[in-house]
Structure formats: C-alpha cells, structure tokens
C-alpha cells in the first residue's frame, strides 16, 4: 500500500501520457490536457507545503531569538502583507492582478526592484569571477576569453564604434559555434531526461518515494 500504490500511480499516469501522445484520438486524445490540468492543481497545493515550511522555519527563529531574528519577522510580515493585499485585491477588484489592486502596487514597488537589483548585483560577482576565470592559461581558456570579449564588445556601442567587425563576429559566434555547442548539450540532456523518465516509469528509480 505504501510503495505499490505510488509505483502504480506513477506508471499508469506516465503510461497514459505516452499513449495519448501516440494515439491522439478518443478516449486518449483529451487525456494529456486533462492530466496537465490535474498536475497544475496538485502542484498548486504543494505551494502551501512550501510556504508552510518557510513560515515554520522562521517562526522557530523568532521564538528562539538567535542573532538576526528580526529579519525573520520582516520575512513573515512581508509574506502575510502580500497575501492579505492579494485577498483584498481579489475582493475589491475581482483579481489581485487588477492594475489598481494594492497587490500590484506591492509587485511594482517591491518585487520588481528587489528582483532586478538582485540580478544586477550579480554583474559585479560575474565580473569578479571573470577576472579569475579569464586567464589565458592554455588554448581552451584563451578561446573562452576571446569569445566572451568579442560577444561583450559586439553588444555595446563602443564595440561597433571602434570596428564593425565586433557586431558581425559576435553575431556569427552566437549563431554558429555557440548554438552548435548549446544544441549538442541540449540534445544530450534531453536524451538523458528520456532515459531517466523511463527508469522512473518502470519503477527502477524510486528515490522520490523516500
């Protein structure tokens, strides 16, 4: 019951999805769409588990009061305020995502700047990492350095102002060698995912049951 039922559910769900792909007619044709909707609903409930975990961890910090526990208060308050504003937006405007909803105010003036600044901050760390990584120690490291420099110069005005070669070279690198390696890696990863999926469906890979 504890292992056999989940294994059967996994096999049957995956099997019907594969069958519906190869037999796009009734009763299988509609099955893929239906299972995807079910998947979205079940995944929605997992969000509750995730938020519950987060809140529990930080409530524990607030009750035990280690150093920096005040930040946990900020996290909980941020979460609660966001959810409450979402509910208010839904009740007053019919959707939390209505342009006049206070939820969208919070999104515009806190989530967008926080997200953008977090990623902008990475520019400094990437630049610092590139200083260490971009040392022309051998041929392949030099290739990494040269292609990165060409792509960077080819995408900024100073590059095209200094020579028309940079924009053309960066376009060629992005369209051919870069695309070729990316494609090779993607095909390999997709084939790996297919084999892993088969292992899961056939019950060889069972780590998700632990």
């Amino acid at each position: 019951m504890k292992r056999a039922v989940p294994l059967a559910i996994t096999f049957l769900t995956g099997f019907f999805l594969v069958v519906s792909f190869f037999i796009p007619h009734e009763p299988f044709g509609e099955l893929e769409q239906r299972l995807l909707i079910w998947f979205a609903i079940v995944s929605g409930f997992t969000m509750l588990l995730g938020v519950d975990n987060l809140v529990r961890a930080h409530v524990r910090r607030v009750t035990r009061r280690p150093a920096g526990w005040g930040h946990s208060v900020a996290l909980i308050v941020g979460l609660v305020v966001t959810v409450v504003l979402g509910v208010i937006g839904f009740v007053r405007y019919g959707s939390p995502f209505h342009i006049q909803s206070p939820f969208m105010f919070l999104y515009t003036y806190s989530i967008i700047p926080l997200q953008a600044t977090m990623f902008a901050l990475l520019a400094f760390f990437i630049a610092s990492a590139s200083y260490r990584a971009f040392r022309a120690r051998n041929t392949v490291a030099t290739l990494l350095l040269v292609s990165a420099v060409i792509v960077m110069l080819g995408r900024v005005p100073i590059g095209s102002a200094s020579s028309h070669v940079f924009p053309a070279a960066q376009e060629w690198i992005m369209n051919y060698p870069q695309l070729a390696a990316k494609r090779g890696i993607q095909i390999g990863a997709a084939l790996g995912a297919v084999s892993m999926s088969l292992r899961i469906l056939l019950g060889i890979e069972r780590s998700y049951l632990s």
């Binding site: 995956g14 594969v18 409930f45 519950d52 090779g184 095909i187 997709a190």
Partner: protein, 211 residues
C-alpha cells in the same frame, strides 16, 4: 494608486534597491532585511499567483460551472491536492506519496514525449542542413553540424576517448569553450543592462538628478 502612492512606492523601491546594493560594501543588516523581505514577498506573490491562475480557474471555477460527470471528476485532483497536505500529520504522512507519485508520473510521461517532440527532433532537424558547394552558407552549416556532433561526442564516456574519439572530443571542447565564453559575455551584458536600469531609477525617479 494616486500620486501619493507613487511617491511612497518610489521611496520604498529606492530603499530596497539601495539596501540590496549596499552588499557591495559588505554584508550588513540593511541587505539582510531587504533579502528577507524579498523572500517573504516573493513567497506570498507566488502563493497568490498559483491560487488565482491555477487552483481557482482549474478547480473551483470548473466545479462551480460544470455540470454532470465533469463537475465530480475535477474533484480527483482536488482530493490528491488535499492528500498532499497529509505531510502535516506524521501518522498519515505516507499518504502524500500518492499525489507525489502522480506529479512524478506526469513529469516522467512528459519527460519522454515532450523531450523527444520538443527538443530532440526539432534540434536534429534544424542541425541537418544542406552543404552545397564552397560558399559561406554551406561553410556555416558545416560548422553547425560538426559542432553539434563533436559536442555530443565530448560527453560520450561509454568508451575511452582514444583515437578518432579523442580527436572529435578535442574539436568538441573548442566549441564548448567558445559557447561558454559567449554565454558568459551575453549573461554579463544582460546583468549590466539591469544594473544600468537600477542606477537610472535611482538617479532619475528617486533623486531627479537626471531627466
């Protein structure tokens, strides 16, 4: 929100932006505060997003509007979702394996069909390109084909990389390093573009130093 709301919002966004950027000096309480607010607000945002765009239209609205068998069939994923919450109760936590098994099954099923249909086939089709004579298009197509094949061979570890396989793997690593370098440069420029956006916000919207 009116103009007062815009002013308050701009100051809030300005404070949060500067708090995050303060990490460039060193780890400090302002950065920690903004970081925790970010996590809390993001978790709340995604909770509302999933509830409003997934659970409400797919489960609740379907149950309310549909008639006949459909009305009751939609309760199956609803029940699976509720069973997922059995993890909160240690004695019945094992029941949560059922909805997990369902999501893993859907993921595995899609892992086969979507990967073959969405990745492998289109990528292979887009790689097998005509090489007709000595011209630039043919040369570029050849570069693309050689690059894809040699990159894949570089990651082929079922046989020792000796002889021909060694040479193809060496060509593969050339493509891989050029690709990593290009991706690195591309990512750095994207991040710098975001940084320019944030600096522009501080100088123009918050401080009105520039127009």
């Amino acid at each position: 929100m009116g103009s007062l709301g815009t002013i308050i919002g701009t100051w809030l966004a300005g404070f949060l932006t500067l708090a995050i950027l303060s990490f460039l000096y060193k780890d400090n309480p302002f950065y920690k505060l903004a970081e925790h607010i970010y996590v809390g607000v993001s978790a709340g945002y995604w909770l509302i997003y999933v509830a409003f765009f997934d659970v409400k239209p797919m489960l609740w609205d379907t149950f309310v509007t549909e008639t006949g068998a459909e009305k009751w069939i939609i309760l199956i994923p609803g029940a699976l979702g509720i069973i997922m919450l059995s993890r909160w109760f240690p004695k019945s936590a094992w029941l949560s394996r059922w909805p997990i098994a369902f999501t893993v099954g859907v993921g595995a099923g899609l892992g086969i069909t979507a990967n073959i249909q969405g990745y492998v086939m289109p990528q292979v089709a887009a790689t097998i390109l005509p090489v007709t004579g000595m011209n630039l298009v043919s040369l570029n197509n050849l570069v693309l084909m050689v690059g894809v094949v040699t990159t894949m061979l570089y990651f082929y570890f079922s046989k020792p990389q000796r002889g021909v396989l060694s040479w193809t793997a060496k060509i593969g690593i050339v493509f891989i390093m050029v690709s990593f370098g290009a991706s690195f440069g591309y990512t750095l420029m994207a991040r710098i573009s975001l940084l320019i956006g944030r600096l522009y916000f501080i100088l123009a919207d918050l401080l009105h130093v520039i127009g």
